[in-house]
């Protein structure tokens, strides 16, 4: 049998319940721009004891499948974004202006053509040396710039490794707090939101997978199996210069037992993966081709040059300093000091008798321009330079496409996730109106109960 008091109790419960619901909606509104925040909904249930309602705050959860794909795309986007700035500068190095390696090589051959018309002319000989120096300087500067990009990329690893360690540390700490609070408690929701955001940030740094335990703690796995975060424990990464990487950084992971595992070769996602891909794959690919070009060109040019005679009748001189190895040939490319100081040593003639005025060997030198002597004898040097340009273009293009692709995929996944757990102002406003009306109704109930009490008292 319900009494008047019961009606008042129900009214109180209604007022408190709707107030709580408005508070949930206002929390949603407040967090409309908070990254990682998942919308809370007010869950109403009848309260048998009071006859009123019980309202609890429920944190909407996102689809796990979307969550997993998001991490993957965050890693891909992070990698493409990190390589992008590095590769953009390589793209500029191989621009099509008059200062390209190809134009510089054309300049060298054209100066040899000029000398061919008047081989005894000292000014024309000097011009050959000068154009050769320009070509050599361009090749060498390009190689040095590529190496500098490699080093810059390498130096940026420290910062990213620190960020990863910071993130894994924070996630482990949040894991502990969530487990302590109990994952269903209201306070845990805020910690989970924060952790969600940190996990996404971490995926942008290095490729990861996630496993969620029933107690709410999260295990973050690197490369399928090695835990970066396991409940309250975080593994730490370290970067150490290593001779095996040409004194650039090797990345190790220290596990819970203190065991150290090298993971440099396994990292291919996130900012760290992007940096390592550029440092160990994209930049060396271009540098190797440039080294090979310099090595083959110097040797082939020298072979013809040393067969000829300078104006002093001496034969057997090299034009370029012979590169000892292919590696470093571009960086160290140089003209022999003898010929650089005395252009008379340019071997223009094929015989000692025609040493002054002979130009047959210049014709042989010009022959190296159109002969298939590059890339192991399959194409001309001109074609090889074009091929290197195309390699750079393709690499940069692939990166741009990966970047745009990951960005679009990330936007789509984020939109799907937002659709599930994001905050819509319109929706919250309507909810507030709805809860407000119910609150007003509750207040009316109190008034009604009050007048009923008055009636009873004044009877």
């Amino acid at each position: 049998m319900s009494g008047l008091n019961q009606i008042l109790n129900t009214a109180t419960s209604t007022l408190l319940g709707q107030q709580k619901a408005i508070s949930v909606a206002s929390k949603n509104l407040a967090n409309v721009n908070t990254a990682g925040y998942q919308r809370r909904s007010a869950q109403f249930s009848p309260n048998g004891a009071t006859g009123g309602i019980a309202v609890s705050e429920l944190r909407n959860t996102a689809d796990r499948y979307i969550g997993g794909k998001l991490l993957l795309q965050e890693s891909r986007f992070g990698a493409a974004d990190a390589s992008r700035t590095i590769l953009a500068s390589v793209d500029q190095m191989f621009g099509l202006g008059d200062d390209s390696i190809g134009s510089r090589l054309d300049g060298l051959f054209n100066s040899i053509r000029g000398l061919e018309t008047d081989p005894a002319n000292l000014d024309l000989r000097r011009e050959v040396i000068s154009t050769a120096e320009t070509f050599v300087a361009k090749v060498s500067a390009t190689a040095l710039s590529l190496e500098a990009e490699q080093r810059r990329a390498d130096q940026s690893i420290d910062g990213v490794v620190n960020e990863v360690n910071d993130l894994t540390g924070q996630i482990a700490q949040l894991n502990r707090q969530i487990t302590e609070l109990g994952n269903t408690s209201e306070g845990a929701g805020d910690l989970m939101d924060r952790r969600e955001q940190l996990v996404n940030d971490l995926a942008g740094k290095i490729q990861i997978n996630r496993l969620e335990a029933p107690d709410g703690s999260l295990t973050i796995l690197f490369d399928g199996g090695h835990p970066l975060v396991d409940k309250g424990y975080a593994a730490s990464l370290s970067a150490t210069p290593d001779a095996a990487y040409a004194n650039m950084r090797r990345i190790d992971m220290t596990g819970p037992s203190g065991s150290v595992r090298e993971i440099t070769g396994q990292i291919d996602g996130g900012q760290l993966g992007g940096i390592l891909n550029a440092r160990d794959r994209d930049l060396p690919a271009v540098l190797d081709r440039l080294d090979r070009l310099a090595y083959e060109f110097a040797n082939e040019f020298n072979a013809v040059h040393s067969a000829g005679h300078g104006t002093d009748g001496v034969t057997g001189r090299n034009f370029f300093v012979p590169p000892p190895t292919m590696s470093g040939a571009a960086r160290n490319m140089a003209i022999e000091s003898g010929v650089a100081q005395d252009p008379g040593q340019i071997a223009a003639a094929t015989t000692a008798a025609t040493a002054v005025g002979g130009n047959d060997n210049l014709a042989n030198l010009l022959g190296t321009e159109d002969a298939n002597l590059a890339a192991g004898g399959v194409r001309t040097f001109r074609e090889e330079i074009a091929d290197i340009t195309s390699l750079v273009g393709r690499t940069v293009r692939a990166n741009q496409e990966a970047h745009a692709g990951a960005q679009a995929e990330l936007d789509t996944l984020n939109a799907m996730r937002e659709s599930e757990v994001g905050v819509s102002i319109d929706e919250e406003m309507l909810d507030i109106v709805r809860f407000q009306r119910a609150y007003q109704a509750g207040a009316k109930l109190v008034q009604t109960a009050n007048s009923m009490f008055d009636a009873v008292i004044n009877m």
């Binding site: 409309v32 721009n33 590769l87 793209d91 500029q92 191989f94 621009g95 099509l96 190809g102 134009s103 090589l105 054309d106 300049g107 051959f109 054209n110 053509r113 000029g114 061919e116 018309t117 008047d118 005894a120 002319n121 003639a349 008798a353 025609t354 002054v356 005025g357 002979g358 130009n359 014709a363 010009l366 321009e369 159109d370 001109r382 074609e383 330079i385 074009a386 091929d387 340009t389 195309s390 390699l391 750079v392 273009g393 393709r394 940069v396 293009r397 741009q400 936007d411 984020n414 939109a415 937002e418 659709s419 599930e420 994001g422 905050v423 819509s424 102002i425 319109d426 929706e427 406003m429």
Partner: protein, 300 residues
């Protein structure tokens, strides 16, 4: 499907950012007129453009060689023409001086003129173009004929002229041979030493010997024929250079055109792209403005 504020924000942000990037690209293309500036703009076109540019540079090199060669050949041609006139005068003198009625004194005067013609001939054989002796063979810094009229090199060994690259796999002769023009060579039994012939004629006049003078007329004719045929060869070389220049100019233009097709932007296309990009950008910002303007907040 729920639509949240962040979705709207991302959508508008992406639309505005992307159309801004397209607009900047279109503006850049329209302003520079270049579609491919760096390899990534179009890797295949960049590689082909690089090869074409190099081939173009090669054609410019050929053109330069051809111009230099042509100057030298023109200079040789002029000298050979003058040398021919000298020999014509020498032949007139020889015919005149062979007349039995002339006195020793008159022949002496003729001998003096032949001496002057010979000195003139030596000067012509030592014609220079820039720093180079036109009729020298290999060492163009050394005069081909000494003041006594003797060749400074062995004409039987050095009877080739300088060659240079004037086209792809094409070499052209860019000089004239003093050996063929002025010297007696064993390879050509009918050839005569032009300076020796003039010397012999001068000697015969000095010796007042009409028979000897008459005997030299045939040699002078041979010397003249020698100069004429070298001049003809020079003419042939010049026309070869001319056709090589046409080929190089044509190839240069062709490569330029092909390169331009690969890397330059078509003006009409560039400007229509620019218009399109401007329109999309304006649409993006106006839509973004409307999206955020429509909310329940204003209605409640």
């Amino acid at each position: 499907m729920r639509v949240t504020e962040r979705q709207l924000h991302t959508l508008s942000l992406r639309a505005v950012t992307n159309s801004r990037v397209s607009l900047t690209d279109a503006q850049n293309t329209a302003m520079t007129g270049v579609r491919v500036e760096t390899p990534s703009d179009d890797p295949a076109a960049a590689a082909r453009a690089q090869v074409l540019r190099s081939l173009q540079a090669e054609q410019v090199g050929y053109q330069r060689t051809i111009s230099t060669g042509r100057l030298r050949l023109e200079s040789a041609e002029q000298s050979l023409a003058e040398a021919g006139s000298l020999l014509t005068r020498a032949k007139e003198l020889a015919i005149g001086m062979a007349n039995e009625t002339l006195s020793a004194g008159q022949r002496q005067l003729g001998a003096n003129e032949i001496g002057a013609l010979r000195a003139n001939m030596i000067e012509l054989a030592n014609t220079r173009q820039g720093d180079e002796y036109v009729f020298a063979h290999v060492n163009t810094r050394q005069a081909p004929v000494d003041p006594s009229g003797a060749l400074t090199y062995d004409p039987n060994v050095y009877d080739q002229v300088r060659e240079a690259e004037i086209g792809a796999n094409a070499r052209g002769q860019i000089g004239s041979s003093g050996s063929h023009a002025f010297a007696q060579r064993t390879a050509d039994p009918s050839s005569v030493d032009v300076f020796a012939v003039l010397q012999d004629l001068e000697n015969a006049m000095n010796a007042n010997d009409p028979d000897a003078i008459r005997a030299e007329i045939e040699n002078i004719e041979q010397a003249h024929a020698q100069l004429v045929s070298e001049r003809a060869r020079v003419g042939t070389r010049m026309s070869r250079l001319d056709s090589a220049r046409d080929a190089a100019t044509g190839a240069d233009q062709l490569y330029k055109k092909l390169e331009s097709e690969l890397i330059d932007a078509d003006a009409a296309e560039a400007f229509s792209e620019l218009n399109l990009a401007q329109t999309s950008f304006q649409a993006a910002i106006s839509v973004a403005g409307r999206v955020f303007g429509q909310t329940l907040l204003d209605q409640l």
